[in-house]
Subunit: 226 residues, 2 copies
């Protein structure tokens, strides 16, 4: 049986690594795509490369998009600090239209590959309240994807898979562990150091740390201050 | 009366220059955005800068996205030649998901600016049959735009304006001339030389040349071979 091709967005963090493992376990041949939009450090790129290799991605590409040109987020404007306490509303780490940009690039690659499947690790349970992590956003992007590409013209469907969307962080970690994800090589922290060590204080670190605690699993994350 | 802010996608070609002129004539304060996705030459960037200035854009930014990493088009893969005869179906100059990527970046900047309006110069009459120039695509992106951003959460609407979508090339040129667009400084050619001189043979040149002819207007384009 020939494998079905899928593009999998891969940041190098916990969620996208788990998503790649799930796509692989469902039998997809995975083309991992990392998009570096201005916020990232070499450690996160290294993490994405290591994860792609560990989980058997068929190919891995990196596209640079300098979203610092528009700023507006603590992740893309060096003058805005990453908050280390919980925030009300949509936090300043939200990058305007980021997931639309990521999915658009994944869509481009999928079309070049004639792949009809895209996987993205968005999650709407233990998440930071970003508008572009909601199920309605994913549904709208799937609608758009058909119309934006040859798929719509040629009468086939482009599927956007968001397998984590309804899971808690603990459930995500549990599934990933069963599928053999090595979370020690993933980097979720918004402000990891150049060796990939996590700050332990940002929202992303807090959600991740609580996920391991709630899953009753040892947290393999290497923290700067631990 | 305070001006309403809009992001206007500006390639430096005829259609986007006309779109900017139309947005300006409707009273919008225009933030012009050029996205260089790998296919472009310095001449097109210069054209975009000159057009932004000539038509009174409030700001102009350029974002690089290296879509050559995924290729799949004569515009982003140097090994695929730009065709100089008419093609059946979706031509090889179609860049997979390009307009989705462009609109996603425009959406990001609009959100940073708290602007609820985006203008894009897509056209579905005298065009090359690209799927992402059709009205249904624009409608789907407008749906997505509300869900992807704070707009949806905060209950306001993000509008995608495609004022050229139902116009012939001759009509577009007629409107632009009335609004004072200097088409001599625009570059539409898929393979213009470093001085911005057009090949006169590619699909984009053919549509443009026919537009001036049908509008009974002098074509100010500088051709390599003229």
């Amino acid at each position: 049986m020939s494998e079905v091709d899928a593009v999998v967005l891969l940041s190098g963090g916990l969620d996208s690594a788990t998503t790649l493992a799930m796509a692989r376990s469902e039998g997809y041949r995975c083309y991992a795509l990392s998009v570096f939009y201005g916020q990232r450090h070499a450690a996160e790129l290294n993490a994405a490369r290591n994860v792609a290799q560990q989980l058997g991605a068929h190919d891995h590409r990196v596209i640079d998009v300098d979203m610092r040109r528009i700023g507006g987020s603590a992740l893309t404007d060096p003058n805005i600090a990453v908050p280390e306490t919980e925030q009300d509303g949509i936090p300043i780490t939200y990058v305007p239209a980021r997931n639309t940009v990521l999915l658009a690039l994944a869509l481009g690659w999928a079309e070049v590959l004639s792949a009809d499947h895209i996987f993205v690790g968005v999650n709407a349970v233990d998440y930071s309240g970003y508008p572009d992590c909601r199920p309605a956003f994913i549904d709208a992007f799937e609608q758009l994807a058909g119309l934006a590409t040859r798929a719509g013209v040629e009468g086939h469907v482009m599927r956007i898979h968001a397998p984590l969307i309804d899971l808690t962080k603990a459930e995500i970690i549990g599934i990933g562990m069963e599928l053999g994800v090595d979370y020690a090589i993933t980097v979720s922290c918004y402000q990891a150091d150049s060796d990939g060590r996590a700050c332990g204080r940002c929202e992303s670190c807090r959600l991740r740390r609580e996920g391991f605690r709630n899953a009753d699993l040892v947290d393999p994350t290497i923290y700067v201050s631990s």
